[in-house]
Symmetry: C2
């Protein structure tokens, strides 16, 4: 167990900046690579000595001693969205000759911190956190362990956002994705649009803001009773909705396909016609969306593009080049028979 | 690239046998552990020298130098069944303090061999192959790379079977699982039972044998036109069945839930009532089974039990104890409204 250090340690970026070289060069100096001139080596070493800098895992990873391994952490790989993300990441990393160590952390704060700590001990070259669950409710303190990790290796967030030097975020534009579909529903005359969500993650809240703004921009009021939080298990969603009295809606938008399937089951059990009486839209465009009848229109959050982009960006970074800290990928509505948009 | 060796090299099991000690003891000798007496060390070393034995990765893994890492290979972690298996394995390995390196090999023979080779280079303590796709069509030559791997580290097959010293298999009893449900359908008077499958893997063929034997044991003929091979994508299954002329059946059993959902979509599009006119049974009891209407009865292949058993068995083995080479876990039918059994 390491003691928490109160003073921020210098990292490879600081050394690179102070020595006026790229982080790749710092790494090569650490590894005594013949690619760097003796003059540059001397300058970088002088800065390191002056700053009392000990090379960290990141610096090692960049050089000859790299394990060519990336740590991937997700809450639960049995979840369809995370499973496909892990599959895309693994495949893309493999293209570059990198292995991945997988850690399923669960959803508890303590377990997530432990996961990050354990993976860092494995001398990974970088860390990828899948899902906005790694941001807590968005407070500073919730993300401290991620910020700390990013001093050792670059950290990539898929669908999360933390503003920090060593953290790189690749996100679907979930705000705009939901905003656009709610606008379309409103334009078609839908007035009571249900919003189903199952988490208070960054991404879920972005979607909620998109929903609320779209309602307002279309002259509709935000009715709190139409924002329903329910844990994502298909039958439980149906049963939960059945238990609500006076629930009337003519459209439903969900933050995840399973929730939308649950809503569809409720609507059909009530004897209402989909899409004539009620429009339903899922999110993630997973296999679940095509299992039900009618099949669900769903917002495609572009998992493959996000993961590919994250890995490509990582490789550019590991090559010592500058990359963006935030890359946003637009969503796309895949229309099926649960809507008449 | 190593050259293929024509002569079988001695492995740690041979040395243990010849020296009259456990494999754990051999490993401790290799790692010069203080837990082993000098007398035993001398005896084991004499055998090693005599046999010209160089300790392999497995021996290292057992000892102090273990990376506490297990390699998991599956064709595609985006597949719901494999995703849940990987989640169960990772969780259970974590309980024992082991990490897992994930490799998604795809379905091609060449890629699967490459995956095994690459993972072995990572000094893993053991290897887990998920799915019977790692057996090819069951021929000797198809499994040679797995047999070779098992000389270096113990290899665990989930739902596959290869008879070999260093290979340990944990399987669902898919033959019996399908045999039982087809018997029940026949007892209820179903006469034309469709069998849908999407692979020629060991497990798929076991299921087919269960289907055929159940038909015969119930006085029904095996009609080849009712055994339909179709690649697993829900809509494609429905469309494929729509394109068949003169296809008449009163029940359908599938080797995977997605196929069963496709069959359900076909039956409903034809205007037939489920379960009154047609009974439909899926396999794996995945989330897909509860997305459709009516929800699917499905054979639960006990993924969690299989994975937990595999990891527990592995840990027993890594502790130097003897374990079974084949553990079979019975399936269970989860009844829902797609059948009236």
């Amino acid at each position: 167990m390491q003691q928490r250090k109160e003073v921020r340690e210098l990292n490879i970026y600081d050394i690179a900046k102070l020595a006026g070289v790229s982080i790749a060069t710092v790494s090569r100096v650490v590894n005594d690579s013949p690619k760097v001139s003796e003059k540059t080596k001397a300058r970088v070493r002088a800065v390191m000595k002056e700053q009392n800098y000990t090379p960290n895992v990141f610096a090692r990873g960049l050089g000859l001693n790299s394990m060519q391994t990336v740590g991937i952490i997700c809450p639960d790989v049995a979840d369809a969205y995370m499973a496909s993300a892990v599959a895309y990441l693994e495949k893309r990393l493999r293209c570059y000759g990198y292995d991945c160590i997988l850690y399923c952390s669960g959803y508890e704060e303590k377990a997530k911190k432990k996961a990050v700590k354990l993976i860092l001990n494995k001398r990974v070259d970088a860390l990828i956190l899948v899902g906005s669950q790694y941001m807590g409710d968005g407070g500073e303190s919730d993300t401290r362990y991620i910020r700390e990790a990013s001093k050792e290796v670059p950290v990539f967030l898929i669908n999360g956002y933390v503003r920090c030097d060593g953290i790189y975020c690749v996100l679907a534009d979930s705000y705009q994705g939901i905003y656009d579909v709610v606008c379309r529903l409103a334009e078609q005359g839908r007035k009571r649009i249900l919003f189903l969500y199952d988490s208070n993650s960054y991404s879920a809240l972005e979607k909620m803001h998109g929903y609320e703004d779209a309602l307002r921009d279309n002259g509709l009021q935000v009715d709190e009773s139409l924002k329903i939080y329910v844990k994502n298990k298909i039958q439980q969603v149906r049963d939960y909705l059945m238990a609500q009295e006076d629930l009337v809606f003519d459209a439903a938008v969900a933050t995840e396909d399973g929730l939308a399937v649950g809503a569809l089951k409720y609507v059909r059990q009530k004897g209402c016609a989909v899409p004539e009486e009620v429009n339903i839209i899922g999110y993630n465009n997973s296999e679940l969306a095509v299992c039900c009848e009618p099949e669900l229109s769903s917002v495609d959050s572009r998992g493959e593009v996000l993961c590919k982009t994250a890995v490509d960006t990582m490789m550019t970074l590991l090559n010592g080049e500058h990359v963006k800290h935030k890359i946003v990928v637009p969503c796309r509505l895949v229309k099926r028979r649960s809507t008449n948009l």
